[in-house]
Amino acid sequence: MNKPKIYIRDCIERIKNRMIDIWQVADEVARDKAVGTIEAELEELEYIFAVLVQGTFIGMPSPPVQICMDLLPLMEKDLILLLERVDTANEPLSRLFSVFDIG
C-alpha cells in the first residue's frame, strides 16, 4: 500500500524541481536583462581604454610609449576587442540600436 505515497512524493519532487528550474531560468533572464546595458557600457569603456592605451598602433595620440608597452602583455582581450570593432566600425547606429534593443 506504500506505492501511491511514493508516487505522490515523487510528483511533488518533480514539480518542485521543475519550479526551481523555471525560477532559475527566469532569474537568469531577469539578471541578464538587468545588466545588459551595463555590459554594453562596460564593453564600450574597455574599447575606449584599449584605443587610449594602444592607439599608438593606429596613429592615435597615446600615453608615453613605455606605459603602452608595460600594459601590452596584459591586454590580449582588449586587442581582440579592438580588432572585432573594425568589422562593425562602419555601422555605429545599428550597434547602438542593438544595445538598446530598438527595432
Binding site: R31, D32, A34, V35, I38, E39, E41, L42, L45, E46, I48, F49, L52, V53, T56, F57, P63, P64, V65, Q66, I67, M69, D70, L71, L72, P73, L74, M75, E76, D78, L79, I80
Partner: protein, 306 residues
C-alpha cells in the same frame, strides 16, 4: 651606512659637463668617498677625458672610483625584448604571431630614449646603493629635461588610465554581483599593473625632488647663449618642483679677462668656478693637476640645499 647621493650635471652642449663631473668625481675620490661616475651622454666624452675605453660595465679608475658609459640602444633593445617575451608568454600564439616586426619599429618611438635613461638610472641606484655618490653626466638640455619630466608626465597619464580602469572595474563588479552573485569576479590585472607603474613613478619623482638624495648642477660658460639656456633649464625644472643646488661656471677665458655680468643673473645660487686651463684637461694626471692647482673642492655647491 650613508645613503647614496646622486649628483646630476646638466647644461648646454659643449659647456663642460663631462669635465666638471670628472673633476668632482676625482675630488670626492680623493676624500675617500666611493663614487660611480656614469655618462648618460652618447658623445662618450668620459672615455676621452679618462683615456679609457668605457662601456656599460663599470671600469675601475681609482681606489674608489668607477666609471661607466650607458649604452642607450642596448637599454632600449633589452626593454623591448623583455616586453616581447612577456607578450609571447601571455598571448595566444596567433595574436603574438609576427610581433617581432612591431618591436623592431617601436625602438624608434618618441620617448624611448628618456625611458632608457630612466631605466638605467633606476638600475644604477639599486646596484650601487652602497656607494656614497652616483655622479651622472647628462646629455644636452633637451633630452635631460625630458628625462626629468618623464615621471610627472607619465603620472598624468597613469592617473587618467587608473580612473578609467576603475570605472571598468566597478561595472564588472556590478555585473558579477547581479549575474553570478559575485562568484566569478576576477581581479583586474591591468588595474594592478597600472598601480604598480604609478607607485614606481611616484617613487622616482620623489627621488628627483628630494634634495637629500638628489642634487642637480648646471654647467655653463660665460656667453649669452649658454646663460640663456641655463635660465631656461632652471625655469623648466622649477615648474617640475625640482631644485638646482648650484651652478658650475666653466671659465673659457684666461684668468683676469673681463668677466661679464651674466653670472649675476643667478645670484641666489652658489657658483663654483672651474678656472681656465691652457692645456687640455685630458687624462687622470691633468685633471688631478688642475684640482690641485686651483684647490677645487666644490664645497659650496655640494653643501647647498636646493
Amino acid at each position: 651606512m650613508a645613503e647614496l647621493r646622486t649628483l646630476f650635471f646638466l647644461g648646454k652642449g659643449g659647456t663642460g659637463k663631462s669635465t666638471a663631473s670628472a673633476l668632482l668625481s676625482l675630488v670626492l675620490m680623493e676624500k675617500g668617498k666611493k663614487v660611480l661616475l656614469a655618462s648618460f651622454d652618447d658623445a662618450h666624452n668620459q672615455s676621452d677625458i679618462f683615456e679609457a675605453d668605457l662601456s656599460d660595465k663599470a671600469c675601475t679608475l681609482g681606489p674608489c672610483l668607477e666609471v661607466l658609459q650607458i649604452d642607450r640602444d642596448k637599454e632600449i633593445k633589452r626593454y623591448l625584448k623583455k616586453t616581447a617575451r612577456n607578450v609571447k608568454n601571455s598571448y595566444a600564439y596567433l595574436t603574438a604571431f609576427n610581433l617581432d616586426n612591431y618591436f623592431d619599429i617601436l625602438k624608434f618611438s618618441p620617448g624611448m630614449e628618456e625611458y632608457a635613461l630612466v631605466t638605467a638610472f633606476m638600475n644604477l641606484q639599486t646596484k650601487y646603493k652602497t656607494y656614497d655618490y652616483l655622479i651622472i653626466d647628462m646629455p644636452p638640455t633637451a633630452l635631460s629635461l625630458r628625462f626629468f619630466n618623464l615621471p610627472a608626465l607619465s603620472l598624468i597619464w597613469i592617473d587618467q588610465l587608473e580612473k578609467l580602469r576603475l570605472e571598468i572595474y566597478k561595472r564588472k563588479e556590478i555585473i558579477s554581483k547581479i549575474k553570478f552573485a559575485g562568484k566569478e569576479f576576477e581581479r583586474d590585472k591591468v588595474l594592478s599593473r597600472i598601480r604598480e607603474i604609478k607607485s614606481d613613478y611616484q617613487t622616482l619623482k620623489a627621488v628627483f625632488e628630494d634634495s637629500r638624495k638628489t642634487n642637480l648642477f648646471v654647467v655653463f660658460n660665460q656667453d649669452v647663449l649658454s646663460v640663456a639656456e641655463t635660465r631656461r633649464i632652471l625655469d623648466q625644472l622649477n615648474s617640475l618642483d625640482i631644485g638646482i643646488n648650484g651652478l658650475i661656471c666653466n671659465d673659457r677665458m684666461q684668468e683676469g679677462a673681463k668677466k661679464r655680468k651674466t653670472e649675476n643673473n643667478f645670484s641666489s645660487l652658489p657658483v663654483q668656478h672651474i678656472p681656465f686651463s691652457s692645456s687640455s684637461l685630458i687624462g687622470m694626471s691633468a685633471l688631478k693637476h688642475h684640482i690641485a692647482s686651483y684647490n677645487l673642492t666644490f664645497g659650496e655647491i655640494l653643501n647647498n640645499p636646493s
